[in-house]
């Protein structure tokens, strides 16, 4: 917010959305599918970034919010036969409610304790999914049939298994969340969140109830991450317990670090970068995770603020 130029900022973000829209029509099928996945998961990264980047709260349990959305949407479709829009709302509601409860408990701690507490809650959530295998499908997961993944609006029906519909579905969610986070971090509330990250004690002495503000941020972050999970279940038709495992708590952290914490576009760039590095390297070696690891180490050494963070620092100070 060094230079207040809302027009330029919004133009950039809408430009990114339009670029993604155009890419749908020129990309080969394989990359179209990959991009749909990346956009859905970038929403997860954006939700994580809201809490980690802007408020400075490092959670190691965000897989539970993602999978609350995943299962909230997936199970209502699978068991109750709900439609796609209702399932999406159910997924987000599950994630937001879970985030409220976890936030009330975990925000009694901070720093390392907050990391451990969130990680432990996420493990409980993961084990519960395995325990209630009769409903969740346990470690096998559940496949949501094509017939359940059709949205009928008016007389037109959209089949989410169609690559272009799926791409546009992911893009729609991505765009909405991108613009919401942009508006959020530019708002007065966003300024308070950054102030809490920079100096919580001082923020309190300016009359702010920092715990209440952090709780709102946790719920917003949880709701966004669960929207990503719900969309993932509905777009790709699979609900599985591996999405609740510790790996999916660490991945958004890596994506955000890579792309640039506390930047609005960083989560997309980080997710994109990581997906393609994995994709390209796994083509010629089975040790692709090694290369991913080396790439991360190089990044932390030479660009600790991530890709967008470094761009902001060196060239574009106005980036939000």
């Amino acid at each position: 917010m060094r230079d207040a130029s809302p027009a330029k900022t919004y133009a950039l973000h809408i430009g990114v959305i339009m670029l993604l829209f155009a890419l749908n029509f020129i990309m080969p099928d394989y990359h179209q599918g990959l991009f749909a996945r990346i956009m859905a998961l970038a929403v997860f990264a954006m939700g994580y970034n809201l809490l980690f980047g802007y408020v400075g709260l490092l959670s190691l349990g965000h897989a539970m919010f993602f999978s609350a959305g995943l299962y909230g949407a997936g199970l209502t479709v699978y068991h109750l036969g709900w439609g796609v829009p209702e399932a999406l709302v159910a997924g987000i509601a599950c994630g937001a409610l879970l985030a409220l409860v976890i936030g009330l408990l975990a925000l009694r701690t901070s720093g390392v304790a907050f990391m451990i507490v969130t990680m432990m809650f996420a493990q409980v959530f993961y084990l519960m999914i395995l325990y209630f295998a009769a409903w969740t499908g346990g470690d096998q997961g559940l496949v949501i049939q094509q017939a359940s993944r059709v949205i009928a609006i008016g007389g037109v029906s959209f089949d989410l298994t169609d690559p272009t519909v799926r791409y546009m579905g992911a893009l729609a969610l991505f765009s909405v969340v991108l613009l919401i986070t942009l508006a959020l971090v530019r708002s007065r509330f966003g300024r308070v969140l950054v102030a809490i990250r920079e100096n919580e004690e001082r923020t309190k002495m300016l009359g702010y109830d920092t715990v209440a503000n952090k709780l709102v941020a946790v719920v917003a972050s949880g709701a966004i991450c669960s929207a990503s999970g719900a969309a993932y279940a509905l777009l790709f038709g699979y609900v599985g317990s591996n999405f609740a495992s510790i790996q999916y708590s660490i991945l958004p952290l890596l994506w955000v670090l890579l792309g640039g914490a506390a930047t609005t576009l960083g989560p997309l760039i980080g997710t994109l970068f990581m997906y393609y590095v994995t994709d390209i390297t796994s083509g010629f070696t089975s040790a692709y995770l090694l290369i991913v690891g080396v790439a991360l180490i190089l990044l932390v050494l030479f660009a600790p603020k991530g890709i967008m963070g470094s761009i902001r620092e060196r060239w574009l100070g106005w980036l939000p």
Binding site: R2, D3, R191, E201, R202, Y208
Partner: protein
């Protein structure tokens, strides 16, 4: 006239140390009160108890007729008790504008400031002479300007009681004169309580002076009375007499 702030038997122990020990204190609305005393006398602990940064071991704090002893710090700020830190504690990675926008947008919601954030911020920056630095990162300000920014943030809270903890520490003499004028201006619509070591500042500004020693109030009076007080000279001013 009823006091704006009173304390009764206010005490705070750290282990075996009684940092503040049974202090009865009263502050009248509109006055500039200086708190002085040797290092370790309990001055900062005392004002921290007033602002709510730390909780008392016993005793009570009453602000404008309301018992605020158990009230968290952020709520006291909303009542109008503002505290500026002894160690400069501005948001280094935010701009000067954003630093002041935080208290301004806070007071907008409870109605103590009218209008837009920008108007309120620029008013506070004009008063402290920082208006032309609004876009600078706070970390890039000189130390003296950071102290002024700290005061601007306090001002922007529209406090009824502004507590300044060693505001002139580290300022150059030329800056101190401006500072005295600034505090006089603030005192036109707020009560000021300042901890200060710089004696010319204390004598020039304060209506009354409270002298702390070993966690207790040793003396209280006008600058003239304090200057003439033999006990104070022994404890603090260090003059050997007699």
């Amino acid at each position: 006239m009823t006091p704006l702030l009173t304390t009764k038997g206010l005490s705070r122990q750290f282990g075996g140390l009684r940092a503040v020990d049974g202090v009865d204190f009263a502050l009248m609305p509109g006055e500039i009160r200086a708190v002085i005393g040797p290092n370790g006398a309990g001055k900062t602990t005392f004002v921290s108890l007033l602002s709510g940064r730390i909780r008392p071991s016993s005793g009570a704090v009453v602000f404008d007729g309301v018992d605020i002893t158990a009230m968290p710090a952020y709520q006291r700020v909303r009542l109008g008790v503002a505290y500026t830190f002894q160690i400069t504690s501005v948001f280094a990675n935010l701009t000067v504008f954003d630093n002041v926008a935080l208290p301004v947008q806070r007071t907008l919601t409870d109605g103590r400031t009218k209008g837009q954030v920008r108007t309120g911020v620029m008013a506070a920056l004009e008063r402290t002479g920082l208006a032309d630095r609004a876009g600078t990162l706070a970390a890039h300000l000189s130390y003296g300007h950071q102290r002024l920014l700290e005061v601007a943030m306090g001002l922007a809270l529209k406090p009824r009681l502004l507590i300044l903890d060693e505001p002139t520490q580290g300022l150059a003499d030329s800056e101190i004169d401006n500072f005295i004028a600034l505090v006089r201006g603030i005192a036109r619509d707020a009560t000021v309580l300042l901890i200060e070591h710089n004696m010319p500042v204390v004598m020039g500004l304060a209506d009354r002076i409270t002298v702390f020693n070993s966690g207790k109030i040793l003396a209280e009076g006008t600058p003239g009375e304090i200057r003439a007080n033999g006990e104070v000279q022994d404890a603090y001013l260090g003059a050997t007499h007699g």
